[in-house]
Structure formats: C-alpha cells, structure tokens
C-alpha cells in the first residue's frame, strides 16, 4: 500500500514533506486537504489527524502528523534516502533536532504569526487572534538575525555550515517562502537585510530542483489574488469598514 500524504500546498510544512518525498523518489499519493475551505475539520480527516492540521501521513496502518516527525520518519523508514537529510551521526542529528525545535518558537511563530493571523485566516473566515501579528512582527526579524548570524555560520551553504541540505533546511526554507504572501514591499523590507538567508533559500531551491519550484507553484498562483485582496481590504478599513472578522 502506497504512502498517503495529506497536504495543502499553501501550507509550509506540507510543502516540506512533498518536496522531501519527491527529491528522494519516495512513492506516494498526494491527497489535498484545503485548509482555506475548512476541509481539515471534516470527520474523515479528523480520523487521520484529530488536531485538524496538515500535513499528515498514512503509511500502511500507521498514521502520523507534525511535519518534523514525518520528515524524520520518512528519512529513517525509506531506503535510499541519503544520510545528509537526517545524519546517523548522533551529534549532527542532535543539532538538527535543536534547530527544528528552535523553529517552532521562533521562525515559524514569526512567519505564521504574521501570514496566518493577519492575511490567510481573516480573508477566509478562519479563527484568528488579532494580537498575534504584533508579537510575530518582533519575533520574525529576531529569528532571521539568528539564522543569519548563528545557524548559517560555517563554510557550507546550509544550516550548520553543512555542504548538503538536511530536513531542517527544507522545513525552514518552506516556512520563509510563506512570506511571499506579504506585499512585495513588505517582503523586501523584511528579508533584504539578510544576505546569507537569501542565498541559503536559493541554494536550498537548487538542491531540491525542480520539485521546490513545482510544489511552490500553488503559492505563486494565488499570491497576486491574495495581495490584491489585502490592498482592497486595507482601503475599505481606511473608509471605516472591514471585510474580515475575528472569530473566537
């Protein structure tokens, strides 16, 4: 029975899992769960992931969610995955666990905090917390600085100065790609100070080409529409009305 990957290509961790499977020749069936259409809340999907989030996998009878757990499982369970994705060496592996854990409270919290809570959720009638983006706007530049000055320190182009990418590079770069939903101006303002980060994004794309671009097409296909709707929304807010609603 083929591996099933429940994913939404608009979700950063979903994209990381899809790209990983494709670059490693892992045979799988992609099943789309559109979170903007609330499909994660169906009883069928809740059977697979009771947390109602994407991605999730079903491998035979084994169900798993949380993208870092999935990436580690796939790297370990499927033959032929090169060691650099999730090294057997206990020290190298520990560092990957360290940056993946850091990611939750820093980069993910920053990027998702802004994009989900100020753009995606309000535009699509999903529950959001209007307090989150303010805090997220402080965490994001701090996280990018830490990436620039600490995690990307070393001779190689990838995290920890490695010469080849790991699951951590894929996970974190897919997260940063979510910032493409911001306006062009804001995206440039946020990212342009971080030269190493920008180069690392390109290097990760190249190391996973053509799958990186192919999987990210879904994001770029709706990017303009999202940007236009945000512009209209901010115009209507200035006029005293608002399209979005904070649902608690």
């Amino acid at each position: 029975m083929t591996l099933k990957v429940y994913a939404d290509r608009l979700s950063q961790p979903s994209r990381a899992v899809l790209i990983f499977c494709k670059i490693n020749g892992i045979d799988f069936e992609e099943i789309t769960v559109e979170f903007l259409k609330h499909q994660q809340f169906t009883p069928e999907y809740k059977e697979i992931n009771p947390m109602s989030q994407v991605p999730a996998i079903v491998d035979g009878t084994f169900k798993l969610f949380e993208s870092h757990a999935i990436l580690i499982y796939l790297a370990s369970a499927y033959p032929g995955v090169p060691d650099h994705w999730y090294p057997a060496d206990v020290f190298k592996r520990a560092k990957i666990h360290s940056v993946l854990a850091w990611h939750h409270s820093y980069l993910r919290r920053g990027a998702t905090g802004i994009v989900y809570h100020s753009i995606m959720a309000p535009l699509h009638g999903l529950t959001f917390d209007p307090q989150v983006p303010e805090q997220a706007r402080k965490i994001l530049p701090k996280s990018l600085s830490i990436l620039e000055d600490y995690w990307l320190e070393g001779t190689g182009p990838f995290l920890f100065g490695n010469s080849e990418p790991s699951i951590a590079d894929l996970s974190l770069v897919c997260e940063i790609m979510q910032l493409e939903f911001l306006s062009e101006k804001e995206y440039r303002e946020i990212l342009s100070p971080y030269k190493k980060v920008l180069k690392w994004i390109e290097d990760t794309k190249n190391a996973t080409g053509p799958y990186f671009d192919e999987v990210h097409m879904a994001l770029f296909n709706v990017q303009n529409e999202i940007r236009e709707r945000m512009v209209k929304q901010s115009i209507s807010s200035h006029k005293g009305g608002s399209e979005s609603e904070c649902i608690k």
């Binding site: 009771p50 947390m51 580690i72 499982y73 206990v90 520990a94 360290s98 854990a101 850091w102 939750h104």
Partner: protein, 242 residues
C-alpha cells in the same frame, strides 16, 4: 570530563533534563543559571547558548540546547538508558517526535503564556498582558483536553505506551509549572482531566525519588508566592474597609 547541565529548577524543560539524568544514572554536574536574575544574558552563558535560554548541555566539547534535542541526545549517547525512554522502533519513535512537536505550540504555549503573565512577570516587575493570559488559558485547556482524549487514550503513558518516555517527562514537567498559580486556579484547571491527573502521578512514581526532589525548588517558590499574595490581599481588604 563529566556532562555539564546548565539549568534553572524554575524552568520546566530544565527539570525534565535533570530528572532524566538522575533516573538514568547519568553522571553530570548541574550548573545553576538563575533566569529570574537574568543570568542567562551573561556573556559567559551566551557563549554556551546564544539564545540565552535554559537548559543547555556541554558534553566534552559538544554544546547543545533545546530540551527535546537534549533528551534525545542523552538517550542515544549514554549507555544503559532503557529503550522505553526513546524507543528504537521507528513508529513508536515517530509518535514521540509527534507529541514533542505538538507540545511546543500547544501545552507549552498555553502554560508559559498563563504562568508568565499572571505570576512571574508581576513578580519581577516585567510587563504582563492579561489578554495574552486569557488566550493562553484557552490554549492550555484545549491542550489538556487533547492529552486526556487523544494522547493518553491508548495507555498509561503518552502515545499508548505502558512505560514512560522522554515525552512524558517533558510534558509533565510543563504541567507542574501550573503549581505556581493559586491552589484554586490550579485545581480548577486540572481537576476536569482525570486521566491527566493520574498520568502525572504515574510519571512521578516512575521517576521517583528524583521527580519530587527536583520539583522541591518549585514548591518552595510556590509557597513564597502564595504567602505573598495572601498578605497583599489581606492588606487590600484592610484598605477597602477603612
């Protein structure tokens, strides 16, 4: 050279590492980094963990931070650690990774948000946000519900296990932080969750006597905080009567 563990017993993830080392007879030196006194920002500590957070370890020349990464490393690098702490079986191991990841954005976020904004921030004169505390409590209750109904549905311990793993120590140490709240609030929050309450007891027993010993510091802080609040509310009562 013995393992060095940089920890503050007021910090939930620090306690998890200390208890894990003790229950597994891992020889280590505990070096206190007092977070309420901002010792995590000293240049010496930043050289060990540039994120200025506890815990961190140094094993020989190898430095590591993030408690989940540390727990996994210790399970793999030190001989004699029983396999139930971090199973070799890929599916069981994956489930442990899954709950540890879930923990970051759910239980931890809820607990830290609530305890920081209602107890710790006022204690040290930092700004606190009651709205954030309210939101954090919602996340906490939702998380406890998920633990009760999903993570503990198949066994005594998390993810259907009959023996504890690193995930049990990590998540139970997090919940213990709620002991800093008033007795009334702590009871109100936890008492609806019978399985969770039993699981906390089972995890304590499985890591005895180290669990209680490491948590002694927290309980001493709890007593001081509750006495202080009782004195303050006594003064306020007198003032309001005058």
């Amino acid at each position: 050279m013995a393992l060095k563990v940089y920890a503050d017993r007021m910090s939930q993830p620090s306690r998890a590492i200390l208890i894990f080392c003790k229950i597994n007879d891992i020889d280590f030196e505990e070096i206190r980094v007092d977070v309420l006194k901002n010792q995590q920002f000293s240049p010496e500590y930043k050289a060990i963990n540039p994120m200025s957070q506890v815990p961190a370890i140094i094993d020989g020349r190898f430095k590591l931070f993030e408690s989940h990464a540390i727990l996994i490393y210790l399970s793999c690098a030190f001989p004699g650690v029983a396999s139930h702490w971090y199973p070799g079986d890929l599916s069981n191991r994956a489930k442990i990774h899954s709950v540890l990841d879930w923990h970051h954005s759910n239980l931890r976020r809820g607990t830290v948000g609530l305890v920081f904004n209602t107890i710790l921030a006022p204690l040290v004169g930092l700004p606190s946000n009651l709205q954030t505390a309210k939101e954090a409590e919602k996340i906490l209750m939702k998380s406890l519900s998920k633990i009760e109904n999903f993570w503990l549905k198949d066994g005594r311990f998390l993810v259907g296990s009959s023996q504890p793993s690193i995930a049990d120590i990590s998540l139970v140490c997090e919940i213990m932080q709620l002991e800093l709240l008033s007795e009334k609030d702590c009871d109100r929050i936890l008492s609806p969750y019978k399985k969770v309450v039993k699981w906390i007891e089972d995890t304590k027993k499985a890591t005895a006597p180290h669990f209680d010993e490491v948590h002694d510091f927290l309980f001493k802080a709890q007593k001081r905080i509750r006495e202080r609040k009782a004195t303050e509310s006594g003064k306020n009562e007198v003032k309001s009567k005058l």
